[in-house]
Symmetry: D2
Subunit: 342 residues, 4 copies
């Protein structure tokens, strides 16, 4: 007698099921589904019987047309790494109505929070004043507030208005900023609905006291922020690089900070890890974070909860509503490099 | 023929009129009022004609009963230093219906903003990770997130719910925290109206992930936070000292952080400036700020705007509505030391 | 041996203690205090021993100078009727530091709610369409929506920004209106803090789709809204009279509605009850409510809770923080007629 | 030389292009696109050249497989009637990646607003008190407030959490209700994100002071609210029928109101128009509205703006982001009857 539970192929590297599911949630997953643990490399070699029964994949294995054809019951691919790779015949995937979904939204809240922390640290020199205090060279009271500014009522720009851009707007709520958003893939009404003003890239760069860069890398926007864009910023304004290093000309960003025109913080870098002698390490006014913004345990655990909720909907014949669905039109345009470590 | 404009005695040290009023606002003040610039020491020696005509004082000069009697037209004392001193016969002041008002609310927003910045820096080790990165010893991704936690949805406590406590709640709005407030001078309904839960000191200390200490020093609460209170905090919780050092047993606070039980940030210290060899300078997990939280130009300028608005009300026979009024019952209970520098 | 509990003189007509206190709260009051139940007329005849011991009065009895002098321990008068009468020597009351407080804030929420209900009923003709439907003459779909308009994004004016004006702004929050406020006793910054724009009376009348009139009657504003003000309103705009009839020229308001220039709702009238043949009863577009807006049981019960909270503060030597304090400068300017029924 | 502008087939009955587009927007549409105005009946008879070039359809014409095949360039069907009909081979539509989108979201705001208006009218008897006042039988003050209740802080239930359910939550924001939502197609996390509690149908019916019924009719939920559900409501609670009459057993709803157990308002009816002698017309406590809730000019005009914004995205090879996309899994489950009039 056969096991009636839906079958899941699991190959979530670099994630793992225990990383993304708390013990009780992992037990729930194992109770509700048959799990075949495999790898990207081994998956195509699984027997037809297994592939043909698989309803769901947790992971983002490369799939060729033949393997996809053998996955005849496939309903949804849960990409828990969260960067979309162009490694399967998406046309056919969408033709068959297979959902491809990602759980990257879990990083939005942690990254937005540290982004606001970066902004406040730079506006008030929290990190620098602490270092000075420890070194016995602190300045007291107004003396220590040279360039200090308030965030309340400031003009804030957001580049890209996906999950991270929206989460950034959310953590800023208590500061009542004037919010301008540049997102070329989003219509104006969707930005206005969120309480922000749609704006051109030029307007965001030139009229912001703080810029949250949350744009994903696509086939169209590599290095779209360069020397000219940074030069157009207000003197003393703050640029926060929170998404991917490839959207900026990193050398130009360093130059703009080194020259004293702007302040910056970055969580992402052209190479990771960064060489020990990389010049960014020595630039005053450039706050540094080693790709730590999103990688919180609580974020990974939320991934598994999203998968469980959408599995439940799919089991009932409903579409997934919690994970983000890849779009037929844009799925092949993303260019973020996959992560190798969690 | 006499000048019909109301007469102001001005002795705002350590502030000055140009510090608290932008040039155009200072011109407006000078146009609307006759200003006699004096000092705390010189004021009692002014001629009867001047004292008898003075409607307003900007400053907080010591006044004895005789001088107060000579100030027969006095309507309002604008204390722009903002700490109330027990240096005048308040009973008689209030008997005569003279308002005593302070402009300390201007510091609430800057202090609340840096307080949130402290919290995010400690929750995510922003300052420490930047220092490590500069020293070439950064940890990448999740490796660098040992104790990192989200603020969103955290339990946050606020001690004291005056202007600063309320501003703290406001900047926290985007994080949807569960907010508990301890304020023994405030009835429960006023705390609930602001969206927070009234709580005992014990509950705030024991159930918070982050505590904003915003309580003023009074005759009743010196050192009310000591070893027992810090020991009752959750392991790894964060204590932010944003008001006055005298409300804590500073040695006990240092010990709690040094022992690794809690993290802390402080903008105020038992002595200011602090000796070069003060042990707090070397405690890991203790974020340091040299009484810089409030002293922003924009805050000083707001003082003057508040004074101008309330002067306009008083001129029309209305009570002041913008500055905070000292209360007959509590005015003599405050014990904050006056500031000597801006 | 004497009873150490503070003594309260109670003469709250037309309220009563059971009206304003739920049974358990009334029991609490009786447990915490000695209550002497009296009347406005009988109070002056109470023995010196009683008057001399009375710490609090619940009610608003007329007090002459002699009686006030005998009330030598008096700390606070709780006016639970809530309209301030000019029936005691206020100068002496304030000179002695006796608080005079009112509980009228309890009506703000019920009146604001019905005010929004009036606005929506008039914007969408909810009441008229229901009457038509019952009479079998309803119009279906868009046919029935002649002048229907949305409130979301509308321009809304508020006249007077006390408790009721603020509560009105609060219930409007979900409609994201552009809010203009006229309040001559309030400085601009206090209006801006609440998220509204300070505006002149002219601007509010001329630029609003809906006007909430929440202004109290004072010695200065009787009938300040007349034919000219109503004529300046937008054609089809809505005027909601929620405070007191004496602030408008009621005949002019009726004429403006009868002529089809504006729509209106009123909860208050020049005479109450209104004669059976009063012409307002027959004016289409004039929504009528017989002074019902505030008189909810839940509002009366909240009065007692406010009194209990402030009594607790006063008992501890703190000032009242929940009830609204009368101001020395304005107490004698109010002109609302007292209510005879609850 | 050919016209390079994309071709639109337009058959939006009962809408029309001038209904859904203001003159300037219609001009914009005509400038950006070639428009072929047709009808549901005529469309299949259009020449192959026209069908083969059509990129977009505005309307919801019945399409058989053959016609769909001839529409070889079709990218998106804009259903501006907004009820999805099961009148085309959806499997093939989705296989080809043709978007089917609806503009029904435009009705959410007008319906939510009148829904709140119904709630306030019933809670305070605004409509009834006005009728009584006109008839000279009004009750003054508390006498007229028999069953009056506040909405602030009430327990409110929402059935269905699509655009209308969410808009209802939004207009309720100023009342800080405790909000419970039942929506069997939506995972719990999506409801929590919106600040509401996911709840069972039973919990919503039994624990609400006011229920907003916003659920669409599907193949699964016809008449899911019947005598048992209404009997489970709190005595005196309010049921607002804002979506479609088919989700309730209308007779049972009438009986529950007639018996005095609950109050209700309805904008939709089992037959429209309703017979002159329909018994609902005479039930006290049943507020009636003749399918007027959504049909505002401003709503129809917003339809066209949504279409224009999504056309612009589609023209650039991006997916539509403003209109709501029909889902492959659920498109065939909707059972709302189309409307015949606007």
């Amino acid at each position: 007698m056969t096991d009636p539970r839906p079958l899941i192929l699991s190959c979530p590297l670099p994630r793992s099921l225990p990383l993304i599911l708390a013990p009780d949630r992992l037990a729930e997953l194992r109770a509700r589904y048959r799990i075949v643990e495999t790898t990207d490399a081994d998956l195509p070699g699984l027997p037809d019987a297994v592939l043909g029964e698989a309803r769901y994949i947790i992971g983002q294995p490369p799939l060729d047309a033949a393997t996809l054809a053998r996955l005849s019951s496939l309903r949804c691919i849960f990409n828990v790494e969260s960067n979309l790779l162009n490694n399967m015949p998406y046309d056919e995937v969408f033709r068959r109505g297979i959902h491809v979904v990602t759980t990257g939204a879990v990083f939005a809240q942690p990254v937005a929070e540290i982004g606001l922390g970066f902004a406040l640290s730079l506006l008030r020199n929290i990190h620098g004043a602490d270092a000075d205090f420890r070194a016995g060279r602190e300045l007291w009271g107004g003396e220590g507030n040279g360039a200090a500014r308030l965030l309340t009522g400031a003009e804030v720009g957001i580049l890209g208005f996906g999950d991270l851009g929206r989460a950034s707007a959310r953590v800023l709520a208590g500061f009542a900023p004037r919010l301008r958003v540049f997102d070329p893939w989003l219509p104006a009404s969707r930005i206005r609905e969120a309480g922000a003003e749609p704006a051109s890239l030029e307007a965001v760069m030139a009229q912001s006291d703080v810029v949250f860069c949350t744009a994903a890398v696509t086939s169209e926007n590599r290095g779209f922020l360069g020397a000219a864009e940074f030069a157009a910023m207000r003197r003393g304004a703050i640029f926060l690089l929170l998404s991917r290093a490839d959207v900026v000309d990193f050398g130009a960003l360093m130059a703009a900070v080194r020259g004293g025109h702007i302040l910056a913080a970055s969580d992402v870098f052209p190479e990771e890890p960064l060489p020990a002698d990389h010049p960014v390490r020595a630039i005053p006014g450039f706050l540094l974070s080693a790709h730590r913004a999103g990688a919180l345990d609580v974020a990974f655990r939320r991934m598994g909860e999203m998968v469980l909720e959408d599995l439940a909907l799919l089991d009932r014949g409903l579409p997934p509503m919690v994970c983000k669905r890849a779009e037929r039109e844009t799925v092949a345009r993303f260019r973020s490099r996959p992560v190798a470590v969690n």
